[in-house]
Symmetry: C2
Subunit: 658 residues, 2 copies
């Protein structure tokens, strides 16, 4: 089957720039703060073929083509070229100044993975492609998400269009008479009513009565239309990702079910061309948010295309001369996400394409380490960790833990790709780093990993971040792990985490330590608290002590906060990964485990997707039942007992009960 082909990852890199350029706020386009890469402008596609008899091929390109057979130009290739019989080499160079050079070949040879591509006449490599672009008219540059018409549910007392819940799309207006108009969007009523104190609006002029306009895409629940539009004719072209939600969760706790549902909607709204952080602000691709989306994706869409577009776009092109998103921590999250994609899908093709880019990113990172091998935020780095007050100068323990995990990921990746030398070297480096982390940051007195070594050499401070990631990724030996859990995560001695972003990892670590009950209690309070305030999607941040419109302020802007932020959708992951307890134990679910962790729920059931087939878990009356169509072999663990779940081989789902 012929598909459009291109230089690997360039479709994602180009699309990212187009998507990020759609971020509009304060009446302007808001460009990203990092380097925005372009696709290569000229590439050469190459295919060796052998035909028993002369054939024909039809060529289509995004850009201008130069066509050669065995190195000699085919003058003026028309709609079809003649392919002589025998063994030959077809090369097609494509140059495109304003977008992605791409090629489609049909006929007796077809553009597919048998074409290789290069941008420098030398380094030919496998083409990039997507099964979605499988016809000459399905040009990659025409790619857009599907839309559905959505009418407002009503008009509020204040005269706002109300679409009933958080949404994303193109508002469509019809002019009642000619004249200028302004549309103010709001995730909240207050924002839509705030005029230019809000974040987003559009202006325009109707030329004549009856004119229909489709405005730029925005996040909104409410819209205020100032100007001569026929409000009764207004509707939204809601833009969807078009992906099937392959998971489910339902429990005896209605509040938790509602939280799952709103979290799932949040995930759905933020899963677009890429995993975005938020749909109002900022519509950019961030590695910290992306890692969480990748984890959530494995318990919802299981869509590897969105994951890979996101991760390829995040990494961009060489040179790696600044951390991803300008943030030190984000380079590490990006590497971990590449590994998570491999581990859940079992498909090493993307990992293989990213490996050299992981290596160059790690080379860059290791250029800036201290004598102990610790990374230190440079003047050019944003050391983020979390929106929380904490000192960040010097060597932060949490950054070392993430570096250690990234080195482990590189070692494991090298091993998968058959690079034993690299695997051993990265493992040695990881082991040495782990030793130094324990030697420098472990405090016997406090019984945990301390926050940082300040520039003056003092090791001090206590935050939850380093112990939490160390627990999650298994850096600590058993007794230290136990003590860190007690002293950092289960005590009040370190400040509480207030963003859903970092609570995600804290809850993950707590679940793994058997603290389901505490986690669910926190989820009901924190996520439930937003729902109590009428949230129809999960917010970027939530502080129960705030009141009224204070909930909408952030970054010093009255409506700066994003009310649909994917890092708040963590319950999607927690329900599948921990309450139902489903996880692969070998890449691609070749083997897996089901370890339910209901945390006091009377009943819970749901579905977790795998690369092929689903795993359905039902907890009821103290018993657990698994129905599986997963091709791998599973093990069910429940209340000290275990049962094997055979690989599915067709027919009815296989069953296991305890």
């Amino acid at each position: 089957m012929a598909v459009w082909i291109w230089f690997p990852h360039d479709f994602s890199i180009d699309l990212r720039a187009r998507v990020e350029m759609r971020r509009r706020e304060h009446g302007m386009v808001c460009p990203p703060i990092w380097r925005v890469d372009s696709p290569g402008r000229a590439v050469t596609f190459r295919r060796e073929y052998e035909l028993a008899a002369p054939g024909r091929a039809c060529l289509r390109a995004q850009g201008e083509m130069y066509v050669c057979l065995d190195g000699a130009a085919i003058p003026e290739p028309a709609d079809e070229i003649v392919l002589p019989a025998g063994k030959h080499v077809l090369t097609v160079s494509v140059m495109h100044l304003s977008g992605l050079p791409a090629l489609f070949v049909s006929g007796d040879i077809e553009s597919d993975e048998r074409f290789s591509v290069c941008e420098n006449n030398v380094d030919f490599r496998p083409c990039g492609f997507s099964a979605a672009f499988d016809a000459p008219e399905k040009r990659p540059e025409l790619y857009s998400l599907p839309t559905l018409r959505r009418d407002p549910e009503g008009v509020t007392a204040e005269g706002l269009l109300d679409f009933g819940r958080e949404s994303f799309g193109f508002l469509c207006l019809t002019a009642a008479s000619p004249g200028p108009y302004t549309v103010y969007y709001g995730e909240s009523k207050e924002e839509a009513l705030a005029g230019k104190q809000g974040e987003t609006w559009d202006t325009g002029v109707f030329a004549r009565a009856g004119e229909e306009v489709r405005l730029p895409s925005h996040a909104l629940r409410y819209a205020r239309v100032d100007g001569p539009a026929d409000v009764r004719a207004a509707y939204l072209l809601e833009e969807h990702n078009g992906l099937p939600w392959r998971a489910a969760f339902h429990s005896g706790d209605a509040r938790l079910n509602a939280i799952y549902e709103v979290s799932a909607r949040t995930m759905a709204l933020c899963t677009r061309e890429f995993f975005l952080d938020g749909i109002k602000r900022d519509r950019w691709v961030w590695a910290g948010d992306a890692l969480q989306s990748v984890l959530l994706n494995h318990y919802s869409y299981f869509d590897r295309a969105t994951t890979r577009r996101t991760l390829a776009a995040l990494r961009g092109r060489e040179p790696f001369d600044q951390h991803i998103n300008t943030i030190l921590d984000y380079t590490f999250y990006w590497m971990i996400a590449v590994w998570e994609d491999y581990f859940y899908t079992g498909d090493a093709s993307f990992l293989s394409g990213m490996y050299d880019k992981m290596v160059s990113a790690m080379d860059y990172t290791l250029r800036f380490v201290s004598a102990d091998g610790f990374v230190v935020g440079q003047k050019r780095d944003w050391v983020f960790v979390d929106w929380a007050d904490m000192p960040k100068e010097g060597e932060l323990c949490v950054e070392q833990v993430l570096l250690w995990k990234a080195l482990c990921v590189l070692s494991d990746s090298a091993a998968v790709l058959g690079r034993a030398g690299d695997a051993a070297a990265y493992r040695r480096r990881a082991d040495a780093l782990r030793e130094r982390i324990l030697a420098v940051f472990w405090s016997e007195e406090v019984g945990t990993l301390l926050h940082r070594r300040a520039p003056d050499g003092t090791v001090c401070g206590h935050t939850r971040y380093a112990p939490m990631f160390a627990l999650l990724y298994g850096l600590l030996p058993e007794d230290k792990a136990r003590r860190a859990m007690e002293n950092s995560l289960l005590s009040d001695s370190a400040p509480a985490i207030t963003t859903p972003y970092m609570r995600f990892y804290e809850m993950d670590a707590l679940f793994r330590a058997g603290r389901a009950r505490e986690v669910l209690q926190g989820v009901r309070a924190y996520w439930g608290g937003m729902l109590d305030l009428g949230a129809t999607s999960i917010w970027e941040q939530f502080d129960p002590s705030e009141t009224g419109a204070a909930h909408y302020a952030m970054y010093g802007r009255p409506f700066g906060r994003s009310l649909c932020h994917c890092w708040g959708a963590g319950p999607v992951y927690l329900c599948g990964r921990h309450i139902l307890g489903v996880a692969p134990t070998a890449p691609g679910y070749a083997s897996y485990e089901v370890r339910p962790n209901p945390g006091g729920l009377q009943s819970a059931s749901g579905t977790v997707p795998t690369p092929e087939g689903e795993i359905r878990v039902t907890l009821q009356d103290g018993c657990v039942q698994v129905q599986s169509t997963c091709r791998g072999a599973g093990t069910l663990y429940w209340q000290g007992k275990r049962a094997e779940i055979p690989p599915y081989a067709g027919g009815d789902p296989v069953l296991a009960c305890l």
Copy 2:
């Protein structure tokens, strides 16, 4: 004065892709064989200002703008923004997906070199700009060369339009009646008559009688129009570089004068947005050709803008992961050309902008050296040297000589830029390399530098290239220099050089060794030989033993040869640099020498441009007179005598005679 500003070098990088995409042959666009870079797609311009009273600024951009004052967005900036009084920081981010992001600010603050720019929120650096774009409507993306109408001089017996001499422009046709047409272009009659055996043609369809079309730009002297065009209405919009030719040369030898004139026309035709190799084939920017054009430019236009556009475009963006133009030697020529620009202009601003890029190119180069520190062509490198039969495996001496010169250039550049540590390190490396070159390649037996060390360790072969560059760049100690001149350049034991490309350097070296008479004899025969065949511009290659259309063939294509190739315009340089003998001895002609070398010419006179002012030299009746408006101090050397030429300080030119 306000000018359009951009990320440094990106205007040149973007323009190069646009220019190279205009190469058309065999009815197709022919993309370059190297990586084609894009400008950064999103950049941030920044300016700290202080105003005593509130002011206003008008902003224009290529792309979409996001405007902040002191870090906070200015919502919906209209045509003008208000600038509060006091000290503030204005930042304007510009994002452009299909071209160069650029900004123009006028009013109480103006876009100029006081703005800095970055593409990653961190590394702010001086903006790129050109004085040519000094008004809001003079947008950089509208840049094009000026054109002049040129009518054909007649129609040949074969029915070809004849423009009288080699030209470059857009053929304009008027339809006599509707219907399809094809236009075949020829630098020679034979090519225009050869149909699709030729290199370039255009096709189209006239919709109606009287329709006027402007075809794409091509090199041509002749055109054959097939189809219903009104041939009497056909003309050419000849495209010019618009630069003043600041040099002159005239001698008592009419043949030499004709050669100078045709060489100058060749240089003029190939000096366009960039220094191109040839105007028919291949309209790409090549560093080997560019170095010669840079040298010629200092004896003709003295236009630093074309030089710097060319050299910035050649280097492109990071990463440096392949030699310039894919050719090992070309990286070295590029570095030498950057230095020549500095040395003749005395302006280190461009050198300063290129220095880091020279360092990264050298870092790459040095990753692939042998135990002796010799560069060896890798699988990904094209080891070019010259179009001539010679073995190129192993360590070629000529490549080591060029590497040595490049290391010297880096050391000198570092010194100019105040980087003493770098200067010393590169000098040490250059000295060590020179020692190894002499130890390995110098043959006492043959009395010259041998061609290469083969992979089996044998040092063998004798070509002119290594001795020639070693002489030119002063690598050899005096006695060895004398012997290499005799044994390699003045003997027949090494094969003769047959391209004007390498003859350029050979003649330069011979002139420096006092062999003016032999050089001029060669020029009269070789360049004169082309003129005898009716050449109106200098060819890419010339073999006097060929006959008829064989002169036009190359690369296995009957009309593959370029008949207007700048590497043949060397006489422009030789006349000014050697016959008139003018050269700077300190950067920017702060001091200079005039050492005429007439090679038996009875009389010769001419002008050589300097950064400010010209130097006019007249040789007549055994005497030499210099008239100078150069701001530096010169020394005239003639027949064992010398005279000082005072710096010009206004008024009549200063004089010196011997």
